[in-house]
């Protein structure tokens, strides 16, 4: 055996196998198992996500640019999109703060009733949203036992979004917070860092990706929310009508192009927001 072949034989199987299959050894190679895994994941993702999304985009595109411009210049539609996106952003901001706080209390503190709260947190996930809407209407609508009537106001939209999105940040931050290295915090303290500095410079960079993940889910869920607010908000065009309600009325008025256009606009805005959240999170981690 010549020295050259010895060297080649000594290389890892990973490099040799693709060569046997007649592919070039350059670039990243997949093993058979991971190739199968990737294939299944892509198929699944395509059937469930990509094809429906493409169908929506295709429907919207059928009418050409005029469909989009008509949708955006329609005052009621533009107002609905604006209300939906701004309220979703506001709710997400509240969730980032409150969700992190709740996760903190659940992980770092010990108090009676903790287990119960752990379970109740998830209830908004399990409740059909129309039931949530009914509960909100009976509590905060006309004839409220609490004396709070927010029916037919934008506050109702905010409250409904908040109700259905509360668990996201809590649930994404909680496990990460539980796994944090407490000694790093002690090390920072003995180096002179105040509690606030420890939070900002040691803890926050570690949980920022989890907060961002929760915020993304929270925003996405709020943008598409329908059931929980439809009863309480009154769906008043130009005032409390949200995008999902607008889409439904477009469909009911036999205008699927307009419905699809609104949906595509929402998708585009969501994409931008998700990317921004990710950029922000990376910046927090890097700055430390």
């Amino acid at each position: 055996m010549t020295p050259t072949t010895t060297v080649q034989a000594g290389r890892s199987a990973r490099v040799r196998r693709p060569a046997r299959l007649g592919r070039s050894a350059s670039g990243r190679q997949l093993t058979r198992a991971s190739g199968l895994g990737l294939g299944i994941a892509m198929l699944w993702f395509s059937l469930l996500v990509l094809i429906p999304l493409a169908a929506v985009a295709a429907t919207a595109a059928e009418g050409g640019w005029s469909t989009f411009s008509r949708a955006l210049t329609n005052e009621a539609t533009a107002a609905a999109i604006r209300l939906t996106v701004l309220t979703a952003l506001g709710v997400t901001a509240v969730n980032v703060v409150m969700g992190t706080l709740i996760a903190w209390v659940l992980v770092r503190d010990r108090f009676p009733g903790q287990r119960a709260i752990e379970i109740i947190i998830d209830v908004p996930f399990a409740l059909p949203t129309i039931v949530a809407g009914l509960v909100l209407l009976s509590l905060y609508g006309p004839g409220s036992p609490l004396g709070v009537n927010i029916a037919n106001t934008r506050i109702a939209v905010f409250l409904a979004f908040l109700f259905v999105t509360t668990p996201f940040v809590v649930r994404s931050v909680q496990p990460v917070l539980a796994e944090l290295d407490r000694e790093a915090e002690e090390a920072a303290a003995s180096l002179g860092a105040s509690r606030f500095t420890i939070f900002r410079r040691i803890i926050l960079p570690s949980i920022a990706p989890a907060i961002a993940a929760g915020a993304t889910l929270s925003f996405a869920r709020a943008v598409g929310e329908y059931g929980s607010l439809v009863l309480l908000s009154g769906n008043l065009p130009l005032r409390t009508e949200v995008a999902s309600v607008r889409i439904l009325s477009s469909i009911e008025n036999d205008n699927p192009d307009n419905a699809a256009a609104v949906a595509v606009i929402l998708l585009a805005i969501s994409l931008v927001v998700i990317v921004l959240v990710d950029v922000l999170q990376r910046r927090v981690v890097r700055r430390g």
Binding site: E186, A187, A188, A189, G192, R201, P205
Partner: protein, 330 residues
């Protein structure tokens, strides 16, 4: 005295971690807190750092009562067994952390960090993240980070406990040399008696929440205060009802002299350079004697041979009954 620990007690529920411990730790020295796991030595170190509070007693650092001071105000450098690295920061920024908190000018921070990087031999790794370092490198980074703020005392909690044997030994030597350079009062916790004997100027033996003995490594090894210290610091065997180190016994085949213990060799084992000879004595004990490899042929030892044993002059002897500290703690 740099650190005064006065009657410190600490309980975790029913468990007594520290039972009225008083220790004076001298300035500029390297002191080891040595003892078995769960004996309270880490708790004591954490109380000095302010990471735990004592239930009773006081802590003074450089003459200042630190008992109620938060860790931020104690000016103590702390090094943890598992490094406690700031994972999202580079080596350079980990080391700079304490200085950044103190809002020192950028140029000064840069200069000081460069100096420390050189001191811990991490200059080429300055821009790496902790995850890209080996365990030994991470611990050196943690040490530099603690030294950056010029602490009054440096506290190390089992600093080499998570490292493999070879790196452990290297870092041990290196810590000793570093201390000779930097001269900061240093206290380190270890359960490894060899580490303590090799590195420390002074050793505090702590067991079951109490101080068993304080002294230099030689003191502790040659003149242990009780059976616990004797057993914890090195190998022990029995001879004539007393505890003695196996290498402190003279074994010979000449005619016995008064005071010699007579016996018969039952087993000879060689471990590297060391020969272990087991002798069954007339009183029913089995005494282990260790010899060097070259001593064996001159003595002509073999299994079944009659031999005489006596402790060498100056051997540390302890009688097994002499252990009041051990009994009281239980």
């Amino acid at each position: 005295m740099s650190i005064e620990i006065i009657d410190v007690g600490k309980r975790f529920g029913d468990f007594v971690a520290l039972d009225n411990v008083s220790v004076s730790i001298p300035t500029g020295q390297l002191t080891a807190l040595l003892g078995p796991s769960g004996g309270g030595k880490s708790t004591l170190l954490r109380i000095i750092a302010g990471l735990e509070t004592a239930d009773t007693g006081r802590i003074e650092i450089e003459g200042v009562d630190a008992t109620r001071l938060p860790p931020q105000k104690r000016n103590v450098g702390f090094v943890f067994q598992h490094y406690a690295a700031f994972k999202h920061l580079t080596v350079r920024r980990n080391i700079a952390f304490g200085l950044e908190i103190r809002r020192r000018p950028k140029a000064e921070i840069r200069e000081r960090v460069d100096e420390l990087l050189a001191l811990v031999h991490l200059t080429p790794f300055a821009d790496r993240l902790p995850a890209q370092l080996s365990g030994g490198q991470r611990q050196r980074m943690a040490l530099a980070r603690a030294l950056a703020v010029a602490p009054t005392v440096l506290l190390l909690d089992e600093p080499f406990g998570a490292l493999d044997a070879k790196v452990r030994k290297e870092l041990r030597d290196w810590l000793r040399r570093l201390h000779d350079e930097v001269h900061v009062t240093t206290v380190f916790v270890t359960h490894d008696q060899e580490e303590a004997l090799e590195v420390a100027d002074e050793i505090v033996v702590i067991n079951e929440g109490r101080v068993e003995q304080i002294g230099s490594p030689d003191d502790l090894y040659d003149r242990p205060a009780n059976e616990f210290v004797m057993r914890f610091l090195g190998p022990v065997t029995q001879l004539g009802g007393q505890l003695v180190r196996p290498h402190d016994i003279r074994i010979h085949t000449d005619s016995p002299q008064p005071g010699d213990v007579l016996g018969r060799v039952t087993r000879i084992t060689r471990v590297g350079f060391e020969i272990r000879v087991e002798v069954a004595t007339g009183t029913g004990e089995v005494t282990t004697v260790t010899l060097t490899r070259d001593a064996l042929p001159t003595l002509g030892l073999e299994v079944g041979r009659e031999v005489a044993l006596r402790p060498v002059a100056g051997a540390g002897l302890t009688s097994p009954a002499d252990r009041p500290a051990l009994r009281a703690a239980g």
